[in-house]
């Protein structure tokens, strides 16, 4: 038995409305407002009811929630905010490292192939 869909589904690069974001990341609207206020979460949209977040933000928050569950932690909002920033910083550095290594490796390969 296989779960199968015959036609292809279209994946959209969309934004997630604040209410959906709250339920997916297990945060209350008040907690989201506080995280926005201190600048940890940066929504699009003007008023709190129009706020929307992207998939990157959601996945980072879920990663944090996973760590919280797997390490049996109980994070208050301050701990959550700081951990979010730290993980975000690690991701930025990792992607920077990835790009730098990628560029260096390709340049060397290219030089070698040009000479051969």
């Amino acid at each position: 038995m296989t779960i199968k869909t015959s036609s292809a589904i279209t994946v959209d690069i969309t934004s997630i409305r604040v209410t959906e974001f709250a339920s997916l990341s297990n945060l209350s609207p008040q907690e989201i407002a506080e995280l926005v206020e201190i600048g940890v979460l940066i929504p699009s949209g003007e008023s709190p009811t129009d706020w929307a977040f992207n998939d990157q933000t959601l996945m980072l928050m879920r990663r944090l929630r996973r760590l919280e569950a797997d390490f049996e932690l109980e994070m208050d909002l301050k701990t959550l905010a700081l951990s979010y920033r730290l993980i975000e910083r690690i991701q930025e550095l990792e992607s920077h490292l990835h790009e730098t290594q990628f560029h260096a490796r390709l340049s060397q390969e290219e030089m070698a192939s040009l000479k051969s």
Partner: protein, 333 residues
């Protein structure tokens, strides 16, 4: 059903206390948790460790596990008759070993799925933290998809296949292959995360289906390096082209472009070709950024050597002028 030695996975003996179980789990979680471990096999190992812990930390589940007896990992086992029946007596309990026997027994059943079922069946909190009486949301999954640069630029259809938790016709927990096609729009970048609502595991008791989280990874391209929507391109030039200037033809993702390199262009010079990078999702595109690299041949002919000697004799170019001060320091004393 294949046996897994949960005690061995946690590095414990069967006599280990509840405290020992917790301590062993914490240590291994710090070692292998995929969000913090550098071990390439961390995720796989952590899954096992987590599965073992979720059963052994719960006194009832641990008792049921112990009742399976001691076996080697991978060995086919069959639970003894009446095994797990006390779970069905709990309020809201739904696990019935007889049902399993009638439905074809424990063959093809995954040990972790069985314990999750057992835990859920007693109407209490399952290892996943859910109640049976309530609708249960399907599991969320994270999958990485690898795309070529061309696929990212033009959009593509991915064939996604992975296994999710589900039920067979008799309601037994099994792993179901989940197979579907997903159209990825143009303009995704390396590391892009995308959520596919409802494309994870099936919900239970009327619960919503889980979600699938997709991470896009781009394969290295022979000469183009993406950085967001910009594409970087190291373009080699001969010494003569670098000095005299040249018009060169470059391959891009959308056919060839002509690039005019001005005379006296050194290695490291960057030239930006607007909108020749990766297309953006709605409109517009990144730029193509050309990095010029002057290269020299491995071998030259006698005639070429002669000409280079003439240039050397003629040229007033002195690129190490600023180094002179270091090579011949003038004494102040």
């Amino acid at each position: 059903m294949q046996f897994k030695d949960y005690y061995e996975i946690l590095g414990l003996t069967r006599q280990a206390s509840a405290g020992d179980v917790k301590k062993a789990y914490r240590k291994l979680a710090h070692q292998y948790h995929p969000d913090i471990s550098k071990d390439p096999k961390g995720e796989e190992k952590f899954k096992e460790v987590n599965e073992a812990y979720r059963t052994l930390k719960d006194p009832e589940l641990r008792k049921a596990y112990d009742e399976l007896g001691q076996h080697r990992s991978g060995e086919e086992v069959r639970p003894p008759p009446e095994w797990g029946s006390h779970f069905s007596q709990a309020p809201g309990g739904g696990f019935d070993p007889e049902d399993f026997a009638r439905a074809g027994g424990f063959e093809g059943i995954n040990l972790s799925d069985l314990f999750e079922e057992l835990s859920r069946s007693r109407g209490g909190q399952g290892p996943g933290g859910s109640y049976q009486a309530q609708p249960l949301k399907g599991q969320d999954y994270e999958v990485a998809a690898t795309l070529t640069l061309e696929e990212a630029a033009h959009g593509t259809t991915l064939d996604l296949e992975f296994k999710v938790q589900g039920r067979d016709a008799e309601g037994r927990p099994i792993r179901l292959p989940h197979h579907f096609k997903a159209r990825i729009p143009k303009g995704v970048v390396d590391g892009q995360k995308m959520r596919l609502p409802g494309k994870g595991g099936k919900g239970l008791q009327g619960g919503a289906d889980g979600d699938l989280y997709l991470t896009i990874r781009l394969l290295p391209h022979p000469f183009l390096r993406p950085l967001g929507h910009d594409l970087h391109f190291d373009v080699p030039l001969t010494p003569a082209e670098a000095v005299l200037g040249a018009t060169i033809k470059l391959p891009t993702l959308k056919g060839f472009v002509s690039l005019t390199v001005p005379p006296l262009s050194a290695t490291g010079k960057k030239m930006r070709l607007p909108l020749k990078g990766l297309p953006k999702p709605k409109e517009g595109a990144g730029d193509l950024i050309v990095h010029l690299v002057v290269v020299i041949p491995d071998q030259i002919t006698e005639a070429e050597r002669h000409l280079y000697e003439q240039i050397q004799a003629l040229s007033k170019f002195h690129p190490r002028e600023r180094l002179e001060a270091f090579l011949h320091p003038q004494s102040d004393s």
